[in-house]
Amino acid sequence: MENLIWGTFEQLSEGLEKKQFSSVELTKAFIARTYAIDKSLKAFLNFDEKKTLAEAEASDVRRSRGQSLGRLDGVPVGLKDIFAEKGQRLTCGSRILEHFVSPYDATVVKKLKDAGAVLWGRLNMDEFAMGSSSENSAFQVTSNPWDLDRVPGGSSSGSAAAVAAGEVSLSLGTDTGGSVRQPASMCGVVGLKPSYGCISRYGMVAYASSLDQAGPLARTAGGVAALLQVLSGADPKDSTCARMHVPDYLAAVQSSEGKKWILGVPEEYFGEGLDSEVKSSVEKAIHFYEAQGYIVKPVHLTSLEYAIPVYYIIATAEASSNLARYDGIRYTYRSPRAKNIDEVYDQSRSEGLGEEVKRRILLGTYVLSSGYYDAFYGKAQKVRRLIYNDFMRAFAEVDVLVTPTSPVPAFKKGEKTSDPLAMYLSDLYTISVNLAGLPAISFPCGFTNRGLPIGCQLIGKPWEETTLLSMAYTFEKHHPFNLKIPNL
């Protein structure tokens, strides 16, 4: 049964449907794999094996009665430790929520349960989704499955590493500035950041509410499509969630093969700071599409230089407000030193929150403070419009933009921890997408000479997830980098 863990979502779903194996057998294979390797990988923060096996057994019973709930029924799915799952711990990678137990299910969790998915484990992350390497988790640093001395990317570090390492079939992360796509790129899996409003944020711990979006990860574009289909759609509990028609993404992806789109290549994404092997691999991917009959055109996105400043002004401003709720009163941690109400607030936050979170709260407080609001926050909102307009101008000429996902492959642990600004720059190519609310996907397009995965990013027009998934699907059929297995 060990080779089950390397099956693609399509193979596993079909195997379950044809009763070639049961959900319990499949789930046990992933559990065994997790026990075997997670002491060194550290993708999981915790798991409830008994609960998970009960869900697998229930799936098998449904199937035996001819009452299968669909493609996802019986398939194990991992959750970033940012989604509320009733009765399970939710730490968000933070000491201040270390013992928090979710009182209800997030909408995405409810949808997964309704689809029969088997929820396997809580996956490590940078604290409150603030980070690009997992090194900001209060509990552990996840390793990259392709080189344990290197980071897996972040903040959905465990979500990407667990899928790449065969600990789970599919996973869910969140993407505020690249937190699904960048770790997907560094771990060699497929990760999608949907259009803002595609997936409900109810029950997902807030970092920067105007940018946060949940996103699926899998070893294939088909797996991502299947998960997206279950998760998308309106939710009365989240008014920012669009009232949209949810297509059959997987069927649409498979049926659209052969369709040719116009691709835009923004020159600004291929300049200084881009690793030469990353550049070469992405250019090969562009040549592949061109050879398939796609039209490739150069375009310009000159606002790229403002992306990181705008992001760190807007995201930290929203974070400073969202994280004010962690005050030592309601959410599990209260400083034992505190003797009065002011000390409860100050000492609980100071002891419970990590360095990067404090840094961002302080920065957010600064850009919102009297005298600096107009110069920073107000100005950043206007530049956000400039970035959006830049994309829309490009999309008047092309259907999809092609870029690297990350300027560099996975870097060594500790390499950027003493220089926050250097860490922020690793998200250069992903951040603008969140500021504009667009969909984007990262898929494996090659490996470096050291054997590290390289990711290619496709950015689409609003609500064009199907186009992105179709293009990734076409690429992986000809270049199955996504099916390579790390030597763990």
């Binding site: 400043p309 002004i313 009163i329 009065n340 709260i361 302080l362 500021l435």
Partner: protein
């Protein structure tokens, strides 16, 4: 951006975060670098642009209120999560 323009002690007070001497200096230096980098937004020519305060690309229903649901056992769960409870009330230090 000048060093003196970031009043780190005032920011820490507003953010309810305690900073000791060493941390204070480290954060101040890092914030100075980051704010300096973020000052790049001041160079952008955006005089005639309206602010964009959201990421919507759809005809949103975003003026609608969220409709939350309260689980029946919500109080029990809240009890489990609050640091200190007494008779279904959250205990805080005396404020008067």
């Amino acid at each position: 951006m000048m060093h003196s323009e970031i009043d780190i002690d005032h920011l820490a007070k507003l953010a309810r975060i305690e900073l000791d001497g060493h941390k204070r200096e480290t954060f101040l230096n890092q914030l100075q670098d980051i704010v300096g980098y973020c000052s790049k937004v001041c160079e952008a020519g955006v005089e005639n642009l309206e602010p964009r305060v959201h990421s919507f690309s759809h005809e949103g229903n975003f003026w609608a209120e969220d409709i939350p649901e309260y689980p029946e056992d919500g109080v029990d769960f809240l009890s489990r999560n609050a640091p200190e409870m007494k008779e279904k009330q959250i205990v805080v230090p005396r404020v008067l």
